[in-house]
């Protein structure tokens, strides 16, 4: 990202983090998918027994889970409409090629690695079980 930075406001940032909460059709199914990307369930409702209707996913290997990748899942009350989502997610990988190979080996459909001008170190596309687009990009000096 950030090459054309505006002058940051002085003082403490009023927001520590932004975490997306996406509606999914089946939380267990989504958890299984996101485990393949290194996520694990940090919290859920209910915590034990019964199907989950909410879950917090985090990266257990992150030095500090609060500043790593986080995502919330909630079972939607309405039908999920793949193809008409109004959000997508950028995931910044420590090793783009390795994570793509791991996903391929697990039978996940992934796109080819592209090298657009805004991400010369590469990115590829995949989607989760509810059709949310995940763009997986190589982490670098100017990305998370």
């Amino acid at each position: 990202m950030a090459t054309q930075a505006e002058k940051a406001e002085t003082g403490r940032a009023p927001i520590n983090a932004v975490v997306a909460m996406v509606h999914v059709a089946n939380a267990e199914r989504s958890v299984e998918f996101y485990r393949r990307l290194g996520f694990e369930v940090g919290n859920s409702v209910p915590r034990q027994g019964g199907p989950m209707h909410w879950a917090w996913l985090y990266q257990p290997k992150a030095p500090d889970w609060k500043t790593g990748a986080n995502l919330m899942l909630t079972v939607g009350q309405e039908d999920i409409r793949p193809g008409s989502h109004s959000v997508l997610f950028y995931l910044y990988a420590a090793n783009l090629v390795e994570i793509r190979n791991q996903l391929l080996a697990q039978g996940i459909e992934v796109g080819e690695i592209c090298y657009p001008g805004y991400l010369p170190e590469g990115e590829f596309r995949t989607s989760d079980p509810d059709g949310y687009t995940l763009m997986i990009a190589q982490a670098g000096k100017e990305t998370p």
Partner: protein, 131 residues
């Protein structure tokens, strides 16, 4: 969050996850998110129209992308949670700036309070307390 699990050895495969939300007017959304404390770190224009922007608020990141189709504010399939060090003060500041903020609520998972706002495209933002 959370009851965290034991950290495993090795490095995390992902260093971050940043939502990129569609906006009908990126400039209009930038102005809104400025009120929330976000600054533009990077942006892309096409023939004088902003098509993409990276917003930063401390360690919190968000991308905006111009939508090629009409937005349907009643059919959003996600929401964004924002974590503030002082949720009551932040709410008061937003209200003073003329942002329409919801009442403070105290659900079990957010005992020090959270409130709701909507961005210009109708996306739901919840502001809760950090820690």
């Amino acid at each position: 969050m959370a009851e965290s699990g034991e950290a495993l050895s090795g490095s995390a495969p992902l260093a971050g996850l940043v939502p990129m939300i569609y906006a009908s007017d990126v400039q209009r959304s930038i102005e809104f998110y400025r009120h929330l404390g976000f600054a533009v770190n990077n942006k892309v224009e096409d023939k004088g129209t902003l098509t993409w922007a990276w917003l930063q608020n401390g360690k919190a990141s968000l991308m905006l992308a111009r939508s090629a189709r009409p937005m349907n504010s009643g059919a959003q399939d996600f929401m964004l949670y924002m974590y503030s060090p002082d949720v009551a003060q932040y709410r008061a500041e937003l209200e003073a700036k003329g942002i329409k903020v919801g009442p403070m609520q105290y659900p079990f998972y957010s005992p020090r309070g959270e409130f709701r706002i909507e961005d210009p495209d109708g996306f739901t933002l919840f502001v809760s307390h950090a820690d």
